[in-house]
């Protein structure tokens, strides 16, 4: 019952987009106005106290094309460096290579994104179902207005308000960080509790700002289903109301599942912004520093790694979708 053909198609699409993203990352600094390479070059010379390590010069050449080598050989050099996990050296955190910074930051970002998107999807769909089933009642209006209001609030403003109320004023939640310094990192209970406690506020904020789309989407999906003939038929069969609602819900959730893979990108955008506000040590925090100090190697590393993560996330969701949607299952067999 595995839709091989569908998975194959999705994997090919994944590889094509991945290649496109990698190439875009190569082309952007060469196509945009100004010469980022020069800035990076000067910054590194300044950091190195006048002298420059030949390794960095080599990296700059491969990343920014300041060498005189033809474009295609630069491109191959770039691809080879990438395969070795070599993303250059950060300017803001000078001797640290970008790859090691990302290795420390990316897991926290992924944790925030995955947790918040799953909870938001689940609660949002249930709320949307509640509104859609009770449509044109006071309950529906209340849920709709709540969702619209949450969706209309700029995410970072909400984050600041939450931070002010729950961390600064009352001190219920910590001001920043991903875990307290007193616990040992690893798979032990105090560490997990500390990590959950530190991430509670960021995750809550992301859920609050992203839930509206799911609620309203689900509501608008389920209403045509509630009105459709197969529901009338089920009613005539004498099924219970709860059973009928479940049938309508299962039918309505498919479009939202396609929306799920699309929403990963939006979610990551939100998380990146929230992290910088909650001083959460994910890529968002590094990104703000990188913009401030024009740390292009770090920025590009973040760009590449986040896009790769989003693409992998998309692929996983798409493949799972193949198992949920019976139409695709049949087609693939």
């Amino acid at each position: 019952m595995i839709p091989y053909k569908y998975i194959f198609k999705k994997s090919i699409a994944f590889l094509v987009v991945l290649y496109g993203a990698i190439t875009l990352n190569f082309l952007l600094p060469r196509l945009l106005p100004g010469n980022p390479a020069e800035i990076v070059y000067l910054a590194i010379i300044k950091q190195g106290g006048g002298s420059i390590n030949p390794i960095y010069v080599h990296q700059l050449e491969s990343e920014y094309g300041i060498s005189n080598a033809p474009m295609y050989s630069q491109y191959f050099q770039y691809l080879i460096d990438l395969l070795h996990g070599n993303l250059g050296v950060s300017i803001a955190f000078f001797p640290d290579p970008v790859s090691s910074i990302l290795a420390g930051a990316l897991p926290w970002t992924l944790y925030l994104v995955i947790t918040s998107i799953v909870i938001s999807f689940f609660i949002g769909n249930r709320l949307g179902r509640y509104a859609g089933i009770n449509r044109n009642t006071f309950k529906d209006l209340f849920v709709d207005l709540f969702s619209m209001f949450m969706a209309s609030f700029p995410a970072f403003v909400l984050a600041f308000i939450m931070l002010d109320i729950f961390s600064v004023d009352s001190g219920i939640f910590p001001l920043g960080g991903a875990y307290s310094s007193s616990v040992n990192i690893g798979f032990n209970l105090p560490f997990i509790i500390s990590a959950v406690y530190h991430s509670f506020l960021p995750i809550l904020t992301i859920i609050l700002t992203s839930i509206g789309g799911w609620v309203l989407g689900m509501r608008n999906n389920i209403i045509p289903n509630v009105n459709s003939d197969f529901i009338t038929f089920s009613q005539n069969l004498g099924l219970k109301k709860e059973q009928i609602n479940r049938i309508a819900y299962r039918n309505a959730i498919l479009p939202n599942l396609t929306g799920f893979s699309m929403s990963i990108g939006l979610s990551v955008s939100g998380v990146i912004i929230e992290e910088s506000i909650f001083s959460y040590p994910g890529v968002g925090l590094y990104m703000i520093t990188a913009i401030g100090s024009l740390d292009y190697p770090l920025l590009q590393g973040i760009f590449l790694m986040v896009i790769i993560s989003v693409l992998v996330g998309n692929l996983i969701v798409d493949i799972l979708y193949g198992f949920f949607d019976p139409r695709i299952k049949q087609e693939g067999e």
Binding site: A21, S152, F156, D164, V268, I272, I307, V310
Partner: protein, 319 residues
């Protein structure tokens, strides 16, 4: 729904054109959500236009007593730099709205063009364009904004309004294109398109006379969605600090308030008004977006069924 409302009873050409402009507005007012959203948005536009002429002080002047709470002479107090908050709010409304609307209009045009041509083209082109749409959907917009913005900063330039609009269009058109593509695909299979083809109508004729007309509510709904994205995107650009921070708009107001920690130092009159105004603006866009969805999708309507549904879209936009 009163269909007589839209019937064109005039004979001469001039009033016919007038009717064409008025018709979408009348459609808007048949739905409660859209009506409320429209009233708020109209109020915002009036606020923005008036703000260009009647702001009590020059929004860029730094000459007042600093961090003053609201008073009669300064309705919303002053900033830590000694600017009048109300003047900034009043004056900054128009640029904020203009960015939102520009992104909405340009983005919608691109998504109509891409979406409809993909939905109406051969299978292979459809697949390629769908792939491109998906790439743009997948890439997180904030990343592109920060990358472009930092390159601009590198050459000592900040993103003015034009580059901002450009970036937001690039990152925001794909949502609509996806919707238009799947709707066009479902419409292109209908009988009335087939009969037009058999009569010998050209492809362009079918697209403009049949398809665009049929999906008009969706276009309007998508415009409000993209405009919402544009306004929200402007606040993101400014928040990241890659925009031109000397411009006065609600995004830069938030940037300065947040960077001076107005929420910690108790200057609520600095941070709350722009947040509130942006939220209200977003709220009106969302109301209009969903109102238009309900107009375009009769099964969502409050009083429906039993009436004829001919020519209406009751397909799911997903495919």
């Amino acid at each position: 729904m009163n269909h007589d409302l839209f019937k064109n009873s005039t004979v001469n050409g001039v009033s016919f054109k007038f009717n064409k402009i008025i018709k979408p507005l009348k459609i808007l007012l048949t739905n409660n959500k859209a009506k409320v959203g429209f009233i708020i948005l109209a109020g915002m536009i009036i606020f923005g236009v008036l703000g260009q002429f009647f702001a009590p002080y020059n929004p860029n002047r730094y000459e007042f007593v600093r961090s003053m709470p609201p008073s009669y002479s300064h309705l919303l107090g002053t900033t830590v730099y000694g600017q009048d908050v109300f003047s900034q709010l009043f004056y900054g409304a128009a640029p904020t709205l203009l960015v939102g609307f520009s992104v909405g209009i340009i983005g919608t045009f691109i998504s109509i063009f891409v979406g409809i041509s993909a939905g109406f083209a051969s299978e292979r082109i459809n697949n390629i364009v769908t792939g491109i749409i998906n790439i743009f959907l997948i890439i997180p917009g904030v990343l592109l904004i920060m990358l472009f913005g930092s390159y601009f900063l590198g050459i000592h330039q900040s993103l003015g309004y034009l580059p901002t609009i450009l970036i937001l269009v690039i990152t925001g058109w794909a949502f609509g294109a996806r919707t238009f593509r799947s709707i066009t695909l479902s419409i292109a299979k209908r009988d009335f398109i087939l009969s037009s083809m058999l009569i010998g109508e050209s492809r362009l004729g079918i697209i403009f006379r049949q398809i665009i007309r049929a999906i008009f509510p969706v276009i309007i709904s998508n415009f409000f969605f993209t405009a919402m994205y544009g306004t929200m995107g402007l606040t993101f650009v400014e928040y990241l600090g890659v925009g031109n921070l000397l411009q006065v708009n609600w995004g830069t107001m938030l940037y300065w308030a947040i960077n001076n920690e107005a929420y910690l130092t108790g200057l609520w009159w600095w941070i709350l008004p722009p947040s509130f105004m942006i939220s209200i603006l977003m709220f009106s866009f969302i109301l209009l977006n969903f109102g238009m969805d309900e107009i375009g999708n009769p099964s969502l309507r409050r009083f429906n069924s039993k009436k004829n549904k001919k020519g209406d879209l009751n397909e799911h936009p997903e495919n």
